[in-house]
Amino acid sequence: MSTAVGPIEDARGRPADALVQWARRNGWSVSLLGFFALLLVFTKLIQPNYGVAGIQGLAISVLPLALAAAAQAVVVISGGLDLSIGSMMALTSVVAAVLMKGQPEEFGIAVVIGVLLLGLVLGAINGSLVVVTRVPDIIVTLAMGFVWAGCALLVIKTPGGAATKWLKDLVLGSLGVEWIPKAAIALIIVVAIVWIPVRRSNLGLSIYAIGSNRLAAFRSGVPVGRTKIAAYVLTGLFSALAGLSLTASTGIGTPVPGPYTLLSVAAVVLGGVSLAGGRGGVFGPIVAVLILSLIRTDMTFLSLDTNLAIVVQGMILIGVVMVGSFIQLRRTRA
C-alpha cells in the first residue's frame, strides 16, 4: 500500500511533476493555449502595430462569447445542449439596460443582482422542462429560445436603455499595466468564482457523472434529474453574466439575439468538450473563443474578405470534430 502511495506523494512534493500531470490531463486546452500564443505571434508579425489597443479590443469583443461558451460548456458536460443561450443573453441584457436607465449608480448593484437571479430562474425553467417532459434537450431549448427572445422583445422593442458607469468601467479600459485589459480580469474572476467551487463540490462530480453515464450515475445514487436542473441553472447564470457583459460593453440592450448560441456550440466542441457529455471543462472553450476571434482579426489584417473568416470558422469546427471522431473510430476498430 505504502509503495503505491509513494509516487503520488512524490508528485505532489515536486511542483514540476504536478505541472506535467496537470498538463497531461488538460492536453487539449494546453495545446489550444499554445496555438493561441502562436497566433498572437503571427498577428504581431503580419501587423507590427498590433499591441495594447489590439489586446484591449480582443478582450472586450470576446467577453460575451467567452461567457456564452462557458454557459454552453456546463450543460454539454452534463450531457445536454442549450440552444436558448443567445436568447437568454438578449433577455437579461435588455432587462439590465432598461432597469439601469436614468437610475443612480447604487441602484445598478441591485439590478445586477436581480438580473443574475433572473438568469438562475431562466435556467431552472429550461432544466425543469427538460427533466419533467423528457423531451430531448435540443427541442426544449430550441423552443424556449423562441420564448426568451419573445420576452426580450416584450421588454423593449428597439435597442435602448443604458448601463451604469461603474458597470461599463468594469470591462472597459485596463487595470494598472495597460497590457492587462479589465475585461480579461473580469472574465477570469467571474468564471473562477462560479466554476471552481462547483467543479470541486459534489455537484460538479455529479454533473460529470450524469454526462458520462446516466444510468451508472443513477445507480450510484446521483440524483440525475436534480443534477441536470442544476447544470441548466449554472448555464442560465453564465448566460446572465454574458448578457450583462453585452450591456456593459455596448452601453445598451439589444432585444434580438446575436449569433452567440451557435458560436458557443462551436467553441465548446473546439474547446475539447465532448458533445456526448462527461468530458472537458470551461477553460478550453474560452481559449477556443479567443482563437476564433483572433483568426477573424488576422484575416482582416491580411486584407482577406472577412466573410472568408466565417468559412474558416466553419471548416475548423468540422475539421476538428471529424479528426476527433476519426481517431475514435480507429481506436474502437483496433
Partner: protein, 328 residues
C-alpha cells in the same frame, strides 16, 4: 408505457393516447380546424379563398424545409444548414439571371446544394460527426462563401427572376398558389419514397436502431449521404420559392425559416430521436404554424407574443408525444 396506457382506468384517455400515437394526423387536422375557426371568430369574414391562398403560399416553402428536417430526423439527425442552402440558392440564381440566364443559375445553385449535401452526408455518415455540428458548420461555410460571392458579383446583381416571382408569389383561381406546381411533386415523391421504397424503409431502420440496421446489411453511410443530398436539394428548391415569394434575394433570406421548420416537423409527430414520424404530419404542422402566426398578427399581437406562443406550443406538443409514445 404502451401497456400501461391500455390498463388506465380512463378508457377515453387511453383511446385518445392511442390515436395520438398511431394516427397523429387526425388530432393535428382537428387542431388546424380549430385555429381556422378561431381566425374566423377573431375577424369576421377573414376566412376566404384569398386568405386560404395566402396561407398556402406562405406554408409551401416552410413545408418543404420541414420536409428536410423530417427526413433527417427520421434517421436521428437534424439539418440546420437548410436556411443557408436555401438563401444561397435564391441568391445565386439572382446573380446569374442577368448574364447567363435563369437555367444556368438554377443549375449552378442545384449543383452547389448537392455539394453541400454531399459534404454533410460524408461528415455524418462516414466520419460520424454529430449531425447538429456538421450541418451547423456547413451552414457557416455556405453563409461565408455566399457573402464572398455577393461582394464579387455586386455589380452584376439584378434581382429576382420573373419566372421565380410568378412561381413563388403568383396564384391561380385566387386560392391555388403557383408554387403547388413544385410542391405537389415534392410531396408525392417524399410520401411515396418513405412508404413504398427501400430507401424510405432504410431511413426508418437507420434511425430506429442503427445497430440492427447495420447487422441486417444496411450500409448506413450510403443512406445518410443520399439523405443529406436530397435534403440540400429540397432546401435549394424552397430557396427558389422563398426568393420568388418575397421578391428578395439575400444571403440570409431563409435563416428565419430554420427553427420553424424544425418546429413543424416536431408538431407533425416526427421524433428527433429517429425512427418515428412521417411527412403528412409535417405538412399539417407547417399549416398550423402558418395559420397560427396569421391569427396572432390579425389579433394585433406583436411579434414577441407570437414567438413566445410558438415556443410554448412546441414544448407542449413534444411533451404530449413523448408521454404517449413512452420514449425517453
Amino acid at each position: 408505457m404502451s401497456a400501461a396506457a391500455g390498463t388506465r382506468p380512463s378508457q377515453a384517455g387511453a383511446s385518445w393516447r392511442r390515436l395520438l400515437r398511431d394516427q397523429p394526423i387526425i388530432p393535428l387536422v382537428g387542431l388546424l380546424a380549430v385555429l381556422v375557426v378561431l381566425s374566423e371568430l377573431a375577424r369576421r369574414g377573414i376566412v376566404s379563398p384569398g386568405w386560404a391562398g395566402t396561407i398556402l403560399q406562405a406554408a409551401v416553402p416552410l413545408a418543404i424545409l420541414a420536409g428536410c428536417q423530417t427526413l433527417a430526423m427520421l434517421t436521428g439527425g437534424i439539418d440546420l444548414s437548410v436556411g443557408a442552402v436555401a438563401s444561397m440558392a435564391g441568391f445565386v440564381v439572382a446573380t446569374f439571371i442577368h448574364n447567363q440566364g435563369l437555367e444556368a443559375g438554377l443549375a449552378v445553385a442545384l449543383v452547389a446544394a448537392t455539394l453541400v449535401g454531399l459534404m454533410n452526408g460524408i461528415g455524418v455518415g462516414v466520419f460520424r460527426v454529430h449531425p447538429l455540428i456538421m450541418t451547423l458548420g456547413m451552414s457557416l461555410v455556405v453563409l461565408g462563401l455566399a457573402n464572398a460571392w455577393q461582394i464579387l458579383t455586386l455589380q452584376t446583381f439584378t434581382g429576382v427572376a420573373e419566372e421565380l416571382r410568378t412561381l413563388g408569389s403568383g396564384r391561380s383561381f385566387e386560392v391555388l398558389p403557383n408554387s403547388l406546381v413544385v410542391f405537389v411533386p415534392v410531396v408525392a415523391l417524399i410520401l411515396l419514397g418513405l412508404r413504398r421504397t427501400g430507401f424510405g424503409r432504410l431511413l426508418y431502420a437507420v434511425g430506429d436502431n442503427p445497430i440492427a440496421a447495420r447487422l441486417s446489411g444496411a450500409r448506413s453511410w450510403q443512406v445518410l449521404v443520399v439523405l443529406y443530398v436530397i435534403s440540400a436539394l429540397l432546401a435549394a428548391i424552397a430557396g427558389f420559392l422563398i426568393s420568388g415569394l418575397t421578391n428578395v434575394a439575400s444571403v440570409n433570406l431563409a435563416e428565419t425559416y430554420v427553427l420553424p421548420s424544425v418546429a413543424a416537423a416536431v408538431i407533425g409527430g416526427t421524433s428527433i430521436m429517429g425512427g418515428r414520424g412521417g411527412y403528412s404530419g409535417t405538412i399539417v404542422g407547417a399549416l398550423i404554424l402558418t395559420v397560427l402566426s396569421s391569427l396572432l398578427s390579425s389579433l394585433g399581437y406583436p411579434e414577441a407574443v407570437r414567438q413566445i406562443l410558438f415556443g410554448a406550443i412546441i414544448v407542449a406538443v413534444a411533451a404530449a408525444y413523448t408521454r404517449v409514445t413512452g420514449e425517453t
